[in-house]
């Protein structure tokens, strides 16, 4: 890849926008919140976010929103991520590594089933705005 300028980036963005407009993206608007506190980072949350982004890109789920939050209070099962998918219960997954991250994308977000072994909690309302 040659070095991209900001102008290249702007053009690429326009192309992607047009491609996305042509694709049917109904019901794909999930929200993923990755716990990025000291505990999450120490357990590998940075790599988990990276794997999730690549996997979602591969699956063509361009509309999924990924946000980073602080510690969710589940330091003992970090890395944790919360997934909010329309039609599914809001779920907090724990002990997420690269393989589990891929499972969450393919099983939870795409196939709409829970990744049972890694369900740890439903979100606490006071922690996440």
């Amino acid at each position: 890849m040659s070095k991209m300028t900001l102008e290249d980036l702007r053009k690429l963005r326009e192309t992607k926008k047009q491609e996305a407009a042509q694709r049917d993206s109904d019901g794909k608007d999930s929200l993923i919140i990755v716990g990025m506190g000291t505990c999450g980072i120490a357990a590998g949350a940075k790599d988990v976010l990276d794997v999730m982004l690549d996997e979602l890109k591969k699956a063509g789920n361009d509309n999924v929103i990924i946000r980073q939050a602080g510690c969710m209070g589940l330091c003992h099962v970090e890395p944790t991520i919360e997934v909010r998918t329309p039609g599914m219960p809001d779920t907090i997954y724990g002990k997420v590594d690269a393989k589990v991250a891929k499972d969450i994308v393919n099983i939870h977000i795409i196939d709409r089933k829970l990744v049972n072994e890694h369900v740890y909690d439903k979100p606490a309302a006071d922690i996440i705005k």
Binding site: M1, M4, L9, T38, K46, L49, K57, I65, I66
Partner: protein
């Protein structure tokens, strides 16, 4: 101790954002021997007493988690540099901001690996909130230096909110291309 230096830096940049900074400057200067990092913010800052407490692993201000008795962000940094002949300096002024200067010694066998700087940079850019973040990254070898700068406001103007898979992927590609150019410009000219 964090697994990589990138993890450690990610943690520290998050401190700046939690201190309500409007602008954060992140400097990453890499040579064969060292990684020099400077994180400077205009957040709420700390008094001398607060600063002293912040370096104590058994202290937390208790605002985020009421019953918690530990705060490990800065102590992890101190542990890393003090066991590997590195150095750090933290200066803070209440109401003005905080500046952390770090010199990670890459020659020490006990220094954690630098880690993935590409994901570090796109992830600090995509933290939630309205703030500007400027990353100055350079790589110096044999008296020659290559560098690039990325500015969060500029990128956001082009890509929109940096939180959807489509904008984050483009952001990651952009940073990747800057990083590749930084390192490959050596092999292409020599």
């Amino acid at each position: 101790m964090h697994f990589s230096l990138s993890d450690c830096i990610l943690d520290l940049v998050q401190n700046s954002l939690e201190a309500d900074a409007d602008e954060v400057q992140l400097l990453l200067e890499e040579t064969d021997d060292s990684l020099i990092v400077r994180i400077e913010d205009d957040g709420c800052g700390m008094t001398e007493v607060e600063l002293k407490k912040a370096t104590d692993p058994f202290y937390s201000d208790g605002k985020k988690h009421v019953h918690r008795k530990v705060g490990l962000g800065l102590p992890f940094l101190i542990q890393t540099v003090s066991t590997t002949d590195g150095s750090f300096n933290i200066r803070s002024e209440k109401g003005k901001g905080t500046r952390v200067d770090i010199n990670f010694n890459l020659k020490s066998i006990d220094t954690p690996p630098v880690g993935d700087l590409i994901s570090l940079i796109y992830q600090v850019m995509s933290f939630h909130g309205s703030f500007n973040l400027i990353v100055n990254r350079s790589y110096t070898k044999d008296d020659r230096s290559e560098s690039y700068t990325v500015n969060r406001n500029e990128l956001q103007e082009i890509l929109g909110e940096l939180n959807s898979v489509s904008s984050l992927s483009l952001l990651k590609d952009f940073i990747t291309s800057q990083e590749e150019e930084l390192k490959t410009s050596w092999s292409s000219t020599s």
